[in-house]
């Protein structure tokens, strides 16, 4: 059953989204800034109107040429980085707000609120005021408040972005637990959120949906550079030759292992992923080796703790290599330097589109 169906354009934001989501799936939404991620959520929440097209939640058309359901009739709850707990109400009254607005009696709403607070581990905070909560507590209470209305869809716009790393980890697990089995969209920049909370992922780019699929499939075989980078791997594209060779450019090929789940086909476009840690750099091509050698130019150096990520330009494509600071110093790597990247064929995964 389809829970969400968006086929709509927001002309002023240059966004044209075609997106469907089956019921009970939590879909991570990733993409560069300005790709239309927040617009997608706002279209569903009713905070942005499509200039054309339709937005469906379940069987209900909530936005279309002659339809505009206001936010309060959509049963689409929005959770952002700002918990926006009502400062004049205590925690219990905040969580009871939705049920009360839906017509529940004061006592029923309180019971429901306590159940939801308990489910996120915040029952002991019921009597507190929002200003007495920590950031993590406030975000958990905001989640309880959102789920207390039995929403048809939960929209999350980087709910963990404002939190400390340790607190975010805690809230992330709370989210994963409470969102399981619900229909939800989660905008994030963290690959950990995808693995922990989401079952599916949608990559947005320049106002369009670039790719969608299950988290496991797409992270293993990304088709967009953005998702590959988010997953910490290199993505190279080219044409398949035979069964295990990717032709990148004239005189430049990459041998690897074909992924049986999505095998590449001879003569068709293919993709290859390589972990940056599997790439080594040499100033001169090492001779007589069965390994892949790719000529490239150093484009940039980015220190990352105990490694340095070296960005290479290989025939117009980007290849990242993780080196130790010592190696970078020994090789005297500077932007513009010509180098040879070496990758073992067993470290290269080849697949078709």
């Amino acid at each position: 059953m389809t829970a969400l169906s968006i086929h709509a354009e927001v002309a002023t934001r240059h966004v044209h989204l075609d997106f469907d989501l089956p019921a009970g799936e939590v879909c991570g939404v990733v993409g560069p800034n300005g790709a239309g991620k927040s617009t997608l959520l706002q279209l569903l929440a009713g905070l942005v109107l499509p200039t054309s097209g339709t937005v469906l939640i379940g069987e209900r058309e909530v936005a279309g040429p002659d339809v505009h359901e206001p936010p309060h009739r959509r049963r689409a709850v929005l959770l952002t980085q700002d918990p926006a707990l009502f400062p004049h109400l205590d925690v219990l009254a905040n969580v009871a707000f939705g049920p009360r607005a839906a017509g529940a009696s004061t006592s029923d709403a309180r019971v429901r609120a306590l159940t939801e607070l308990d489910a996120v581990g915040c029952a002991d905070l019921a009597g507190r005021r929002p200003h007495q909560l920590s950031g993590g507590q406030a975000q958990r209470v905001a989640l309880a408040r959102a789920l207390a209305i039995d929403p048809d869809v939960v929209l999350l716009d980087e709910p963990l972005a404002g939190l400390d790393v340790a607190v975010a980890a805690d809230v992330r697990h709370g989210l994963a637990e409470r969102l399981r089995g619900r229909t939800a969209l989660l905008v994030t920049h963290e690959v950990l959120d995808l693995w922990t909370i989401a079952t599916r992922v949608a990559v947005l780019d320049k106002g369009r949906v670039a790719e969608t699929g299950s988290v496991a499939d797409l992270m293993a075989r990304p088709t967009s550079t953005f998702l590959a980078r988010l997953g910490g791997t290199n993505l190279l594209t080219g044409t398949i030759e035979g069964t295990d060779l990717l032709h990148l450019a004239a005189g430049l090929t990459l041998r690897g292992l074909a992924d049986p789940a999505q095998p590449p086909h001879d003569g068709e476009p293919g993709l290859a992923t390589v972990a940056p840690a599997a790439v080594s750099l040499h100033l001169t091509p090492p001779g007589g080796s069965p390994r892949n050698t790719l000529a490239g130019t150093v484009a940039g150096l980015e220190p990352r703790g105990d490694t340095v990520r070296v960005g290479l330009d290989v025939a117009g494509q980007t290849l990242a290599a993780d080196l130790t600071p010592q190696s970078v110093a020994e090789l005297k790597l500077t932007p513009g330097l010509s180098v040879t990247a070496v990758v073992k064929a067993t470290q290269v995964r080849l697949y078709g589109r």
Partner: protein, 263 residues
């Protein structure tokens, strides 16, 4: 961090200003025949004026809230040229000389006007009545409530209203449970300002409602009348007005400061 000091000479004109503002009040307090005040305040004329002022001012404040709050809500959402025009018109009575306000009301609602005639035919005799006092006071006091509330609404963040709406709250519920409670301090201080303004209203009341004991002769009018006949009574009533005004100012300042849900 130490802020650069003010030049010392500022203290001199500031001192003169402070003396200028407090001296008349101090002089009045010294001149009030304190022992006779209870007797002076309980004469029929004084009691009529006091009770009329309190009744009409309370009614005025209620009217300001019932009509002024919705106007402030609409103005706070309005954009563009019409919003500017609307805000200017709503503020105009604040700067209008009260006697002009009274004249304007007379021209609009007086017996011989079309509107006044219609109301009179319907059994509502407006001019020179207690209703006229309330109308005159509401006309000059409402802008204070509207400006105070509209300012608070415009500077308030929309995030709570958006959160409430996505939680399923209808526009009325959002207004009742989120928007208005959040600006409650501004509503209270606006109402206090409107009450204080109504209490001091003189020119518009005199022009539009006249000065009939027990009907339209409010406290300021009674003070003006007694000023030449019986200075002691005028002073006793003045000090009462001063006390009420001082309490309202203090309450307004406290309300403006206190947002009880913040540390």
């Amino acid at each position: 961090m130490i802020r650069p000091a003010l030049p010392r000479w500022v203290a001199f004109p500031a001192g003169i200003a402070a003396v200028f503002l407090t001296l008349p009040l101090l002089a009045m307090l010294l001149r009030v025949p304190w022992l006779k005040v209870p007797a002076l305040l309980t004469t029929p004329a004084s009691l009529d004026a006091l009770s009329l002022s309190l009744r009409t001012c309370l009614l005025t404040t209620v009217l300001c809230l019932i009509l002024g709050l919705p106007l402030a809500l609409l103005l706070s959402r309005a954009r563009g040229r019409w919003a500017t025009i609307g805000r200017t018109l709503a503020m105009l009575p604040m700067v209008l000389p009260p006697v002009v306000a009274g004249l304007a009301l007379l021209v609009a609602l007086g017996r011989r006007t079309w509107l006044g005639g219609t109301l009179e035919a319907a059994g509502l005799d407006v001019a020179f009545s207690t209703s006229a006092v309330v109308i005159a006071q509401t006309f000059v006091a409402m802008p204070y409530l509207v400006v105070s509330v509209e300012g608070a609404l415009r500077s308030a963040s929309h995030r709570y209203e958006i959160a409430a709406a996505t939680l399923g709250a209808s526009p009325t519920t959002v207004l009742r449970r989120v928007t208005l409670p959040l600006i409650a301090p501004a509503i209270a201080s606006g109402a206090a300002l409107a009450f204080a303004r109504a209490l001091g209203e003189f020119g518009a009341t005199l022009t539009f409602a006249g000065s009939l004991q027990g009907v339209s002769r409010t406290l300021p009018l009674e003070i003006y009348l007694q000023r030449e006949i019986d200075t002691d009574t005028a002073l006793a009533l003045s000090v009462t007005l001063l006390a009420i005004a001082a309490m309202l100012v203090a309450a307004t300042a406290k309300l403006a400061r206190g947002r009880r849900w913040e540390p």
